[in-house]
Subunit: 185 residues, 2 copies
DNA sequence: GCTCACATGTAATCCGTTACATGATTCT
DNA sequence: AGAATCATGTAACGGATTACATGTGAGC
């Protein structure tokens, strides 16, 4: 059976212990969403399909009267996860960045609008960095208390990436603003 | 009328002169595809819709007996393009990076597989950088001969980004390989 | 004669988001 | 009493890719 990348997100989230669909969604939102998002509309149906395929196992575990269904990895689920991580298959990668897209065409607008665009881009990346910074303590904890090295490393890469873009924007803003005063007024 | 981001890619590609759908696709493949891709299945139908909406104008310009239809921006098309670039609307941005996703879960595999994964990631980014390097001369030409500053700037950002990731991978490979010799053998 | 590049399009399909529907519990 | 959070799901929709269908001209 062919699994989508998003199925692997689900399998991966179950690597340490069982989780409900709801929990998976919230973990994703606080971790992988920066480089791989997932919605309820994918998670719940996919959990069912993965169970049919024998890669996960669901168990009803109601809490406080609320119905709840927690899924855990089966042996073949774990195998599929490890196989995917170690397989040399070409890595799928794509980016959709509206800021860069506008920037690409920015010759058609006024110099002051160009600076403004870069500023907007920088602010977006600053917000992203702040969000990442705010989940850092949790990732630290996961490493220190549960020995999970890689979620923290991934997050730190994310922060470094945001800083890289922010720095690039800042430099460019200075450069463009400099030209602005030369020709303007 | 609400336009998708991809419609703006098309409008943007017509900012300097008329192009056929085929040309637009090939320009995209050599420029914006790194941060916003588009396929024939989007471009041709969208050109028709944009013409109906009065944002572009198509003209039959056969060449060597081949039927050809070139589209150019109308006044309102140019307006829509500029409006989009200068509007302060929040910038849509997303990334899907399978390498980082696998990396995030890499605690479940052996240390030598971890190094191998980072190496695969680095090679992917090296290929991307090489592709970008190879289109640099064209972007230079566009700047020098047609005064287009921003496509070159965008490309240079892309190259710098690839270099950033490659450097991060290299450092990590050394670090992980170091731990490998300490515990292994 | 064959393959490649030019050129235009459509249909099937996939992937994913958003909105909606439902219901319990906890917090204010 | 009302809002927020926990919890599970489906349906509609949108955006995009892939495969397919068709045809010309240029170069080997």
């Amino acid at each position: 059976m062919e699994l989508s990348k998003t199925s692997y997100v689900i399998l991966g989230m179950l690597r340490t212990r069982a989780h409900t669909g709801y929990e998976i969604k919230s973990i994703v939102d606080h971790s992988t969403r920066f480089f791989w998002a997932a919605s309820y509309g994918q998670i719940y149906p996919e959990l069912k399909r993965l169970e049919e395929a024998g890669l996960v196992e669901g168990e009803s575990v109601p809490q406080d009267g609320r119905r709840r269904r927690a899924y855990s990895l089966t042996a073949s689920g774990r195998e599929a996860l490890e196989e995917w991580i170690t397989s040399g298959e070409p890595l799928h990668s794509e980016m959709r960045h509206e800021g860069l897209l506008r920037f690409f065409f920015a010759d058609v607008v006024d110099p002051d609008e160009q600076v403004e665009l870069v500023r907007t881009m920088r602010e977006m990346h600053e917000r992203a960095r702040d969000e990442m910074q705010s989940i850092r303590p949790k990732a630290r904890e996961a490493r220190n208390e549960r020995g999970q090295e890689f979620p923290l490393r991934t997050l730190e890469f994310g922060i470094a990436y945001q800083d890289f873009v922010i720095e690039w924007c800042s430099q460019l803003e200075r450069e463009l603003a400099g030209e602005l005063t030369k020709t303007g007024s």
